[in-house]
């Protein structure tokens, strides 16, 4: 095994790969509880662990893992078990396509990273629906159908607004898109597309105001109702890895990805640090949005998607084409 193989193995196991994803999930859940508590002028977890209740999540995870695995009688047993373990792998595969620094990407799809990202992302709702259907319960099935609604409301605008970025940059390669943002972040020329992307992104990660599939007062926990113990842990893991993947995509498309002033001199470490800083700011904003607004109804969300977001993203594409090819003559 030579050095490049070892580096690649470490990439998969540690930094942009498995270790980072699991670490992010633990951090994000803790940060969500702590930050939301601060916004509600509470304290959040306090007693477990000396500093800021950091041991609480590890205690929760251990509790969930050590619980009895309950498979209800009426469920489709194979799908019920397999889906929960398959679910976190889809967003994890999406994370593998995001460059964390120049050359630091787990799977380089030879210039088609962005297309492949969207292709893989379509699998996630399919598995989520299967998750709800396999549990064979009113709440889970209704939640699963709501996932389909949310998907058609959110996924088309998100792809169309990303298409604006692809047209502006003239490439499907995420790394090239990031490199083209050295002078100005694409959030400025693509401001309309960004607004559409942001709203559709909130719909894709299924957090309030778009947590319609998991509407707690109506559907208990939506498609996750019947899952307990380690199964529940896996579905929750999938949720947060999904947030990670879409947030990283938003950073890469609109906020210059790993670009930033040099700190240590090593491009890989610098890129990683800047990605993580931008990630932290983005999830802070997402969590603030989460408690600022009320949940939309399903019809409101679908109307928002089809009546406003899709036309706006089409207008954005037209503006992009007009400005790039007619005003600027094909160069940005």
């Amino acid at each position: 095994m030579d050095m490049t193989d070892l580096t690649y193995l470490l990439e998969i196991l540690l930094f942009p790969g498995l270790g980072f994803i699991l670490g992010f999930v633990v951090f994000a859940v803790w940060y969500q509880r702590k930050y939301l508590a601060r916004l509600m002028i509470r304290m959040g977890p306090v007693h477990c662990g000396k500093v800021l209740g950091w041991l609480q999540l590890i205690a929760d995870a251990l509790k969930l893992i050590s619980k009895e695995l309950i498979v209800p009688e009426a469920v489709h047993k194979k799908a019920f078990i397999v889906v929960t373990f398959l679910l976190p792998t889809v967003p994890a595969a999406m994370v593998a396509l995001i460059p964390f620094a120049k050359g630091l990407v787990i799977f380089n799809a030879y210039g088609f990273n962005l297309i492949l990202f969207f292709a893989i992302s379509t699998l996630y709702p399919v598995l989520s629906v299967l998750k709800g259907w396999a549990a064979n319960n009113k709440f889970t099935v209704v939640g699963a159908f709501r996932i389909i609604y949310m998907d058609i409301a959110g996924e088309i605008p998100i792809v169309l607004s990303a298409l604006g970025v692809m047209l502006w940059a003239g490439t499907y390669d995420l790394q090239e898109i990031i490199e083209l943002q050295r002078e100005v972040w694409f959030v400025f020329p693509q401001i309309l597309g960004f607004v559409v992307f942001l709203i559709a992104y909130l719909a894709m990660i299924e957090k309030i105001p778009f947590d319609i599939p998991v509407a707690e007062p109506e559907l208990v926990l939506g498609p996750r109702t019947e899952y307990s113990g380690a199964f529940f842990l896996n579905t929750m893991l999938a949720d947060y890895v999904n947030i990670l993947a879409w947030t990283l995509l938003m950073i890469s498309l609109y906020f210059g990805g790993y670009l930033g002033p040099s700190i240590t001199g090593n491009p890989w470490i610098d890129g990683s640090i800047w990605t993580l800083i931008k990630l932290l700011i983005a999830i802070t904003i997402v969590f603030t949005v989460m408690i600022s607004y009320a949940r939309l109804r399903i019809d409101q969300a679908v109307r928002l998607g089809w009546n406003y977001l899709i036309p706006l993203s089409l207008i954005n594409i037209m503006i992009t084409i007009f400005v790039k090819y007619i005003v600027l003559g094909g160069a940005i």
Partner: protein, 161 residues
């Protein structure tokens, strides 16, 4: 008349910034056994007796709606003095109000839980302000509430030990 509906921008952005501002506030919850809010003046908690000024008139025992006060003899003292059964007491404060010599006073101490019923019965010579160190051995800070214009409500912390 119906008030005017706020504009779209106000409806979208106002809640966000309103909530985000709370990140600067101090939490209003506090870790109770470790931190304790000092009670407000005239909080009706544990009742103390000044035996030097008490004349043993028995008005407190007479007016007590729960019959929690009994007049008892204390050795070496000229009068009968009230003893309190805090298991019966409803902390209405009528005894304090009716005391002609103002010998009875309320305090803000409410940590009176006891493992036995006899621990709730206080004879006259024990009706002195109890030691918080004994009642709440975990307490490290004493809090006082305050309010600021920019940062909302907050606590002033004083280290006790």
């Amino acid at each position: 008349m119906r008030s005017k509906r706020p504009s779209f921008i106000a409806r979208v952005f106002k809640p966000f910034f309103h909530v985000a501002r709370h990140a600067l506030y101090q939490p209003v919850t506090h870790k109770y056994p470790f931190e304790r809010i000092r009670g407000y003046p005239r909080t009706r908690g544990f009742i103390t007796l000044n035996m030097d000024t008490c004349v043993g008139c028995g008005v407190c025992a007479h007016i007590c709606p729960d019959k929690a006060i009994k007049m008892t003899v204390v050795e070496g003292k000229p009068y009968t003095y009230p003893s309190f059964d805090f298991g019966k007491c409803c902390f209405c404060g009528l005894c304090v109000e009716s005391c002609p010599t103002e010998s009875l006073k309320t305090t803000d101490i409410v940590e009176l839980a006891s493992f036995e019923y006899s621990g709730l019965v206080y004879p006259p010579d024990k009706l002195k302000e109890p030691d918080l160190k004994r009642l709440l051995p975990q307490m490290k800070y004493e809090l006082k509430t305050a309010i600021s214009k920019n940062k909302g409500p907050y606590y002033i912390r004083r280290r006790v030990r």
